[in-house]
Symmetry: C2
Subunit: 212 residues, 2 copies
DNA sequence: ACCTGAACACCGTTCAAGT
DNA sequence: ACCTGAACACCGTTCAAGT
């Protein structure tokens, strides 16, 4: 009875265990629903009104937490970058000190995330550097990719990688992965198992990046 | 007066030089306006009603030529694949018989198209293999990429490229380009000139693809 | 054969007003 | 501080009807 949804006219200080008058946790609920919607239909099919309906508030309620649709997308991308950064960091740690092993570990970790959450990763990259993106978002992207940069720099110091701006070298390597994932997401790899292809790509990357 | 827009009650058999009653060329006009809209704001911001307004017909008129929005996007992608195919073919012919030169030529041609028409290229890949895509579209994509496949196969025959399924080898190379273009489109290359980076990527690709 | 106009069910965004 | 309801200007899609 107390937990029912009829507003019984009693005052409700700030917190109640029952169904929400003020919902109490709307921001988090919208983000969770948003991530589901993202994976279900991509960023361009995400509807704020639909999220509000799912969560059980009026269509104008999200505005308190996200001024517009883009703000919600930015928040989703930000959280994605933060989780990716942690994943890449863990991959480097698990791989030990060898450059080839690190590159393989990073590649596998990234491809794993990108194939399990393709729409989120697409959103992350689309949002990161676009005109008028929030500085916080760009910074989160930089932080997330820092482990890969550091691995390249270490590889150069150990003589396993061609010299030059680590960022440029890393981008060359990263581009190949990014492209592979894009092709996989678009179904262009058909029957070829992604993991097999991935190891092949990484092997050729290592060869291509070795000093001559 | 005759060319004015007021319908003067006279009958108009089928063709008139004045302003259109039936427009006469609506399909082409929509495609042209669609390509402009695509480059201006990406596929997800393309509005059928806006195209109809630009072209000067009612919002329901496009339906005769394109049953829905996706049909217009498919037609744009199809024309993009056809033009890309011709461009890649020309690049191979211009590059002569050497594998390295062909790969560089193909890469430059593709990157040129992809940077000048990023939204169109994104649409092409997004549409090519998606669930329920028209077979004609998939076939056009295959045809467009055939010159690159052939170049790889020739390279293998000449001993310049690792053996194996040419499609798989081509995909590895193509993935790197695709990724590079994606990064460039997203502004992640910052100040680095794309052409310089491109030549570097191709050089490393050649190295990575060489038989050991 | 090709196009119009009105209608329907959706959007994102805004703003006064409620508790 | 947080949310609602009504309103506005847009969509894509459908369908009868016009020429």
């Amino acid at each position: 009875m107390l937990a029912a949804s009829t507003p019984t006219g009693t005052l409700h200080p700030v917190t109640t265990a029952a169904r929400p008058y003020h919902h109490g946790n709307l921001r988090e609920a919208l983000l969770r629903a948003g991530e589901r919607a993202l994976e279900a239909g991509g960023a361009e099919n995400l509807s704020l009104r639909e999220l509000a309906r799912e969560v059980g508030v009026s269509h104008a309620a999200p505005r308190r937490h996200f001024p517009d649709r883009q703000a919600l997308l930015d928040a989703l991308a930000l959280s994605g970058w933060e989780r990716l950064g942690a994943t890449l960091e863990a991959a480097v740690l698990a791989a030990g000190d060898d450059f080839d092993a690190r590159l393989l570990g990073l590649a596998r970790a990234y491809v794993d995330v990108a194939t399990r959450h393709p729409a989120l990763v697409a959103l992350m990259f689309a949002t990161k550097h676009q005109a008028g993106a929030s500085p916080a978002l760009a910074a989160a992207g930089e932080r997330a990719l820092a482990p890969a940069l550091a691995a390249v720099a270490d590889g150069q110091a150990a003589g396993a990688v061609v010299p030059g701006d680590p960022e440029q070298v890393a981008i060359v390597a990263f581009a190949a992965l990014q492209g592979l994932v894009a092709l996989a997401s678009n179904g262009m790899l058909d029957d070829t198992p992604l993991t097999a292809m991935l190891d092949d790509v990484v092997e050729r990357l290592v060869l291509g990046l070795r000093p001559r």
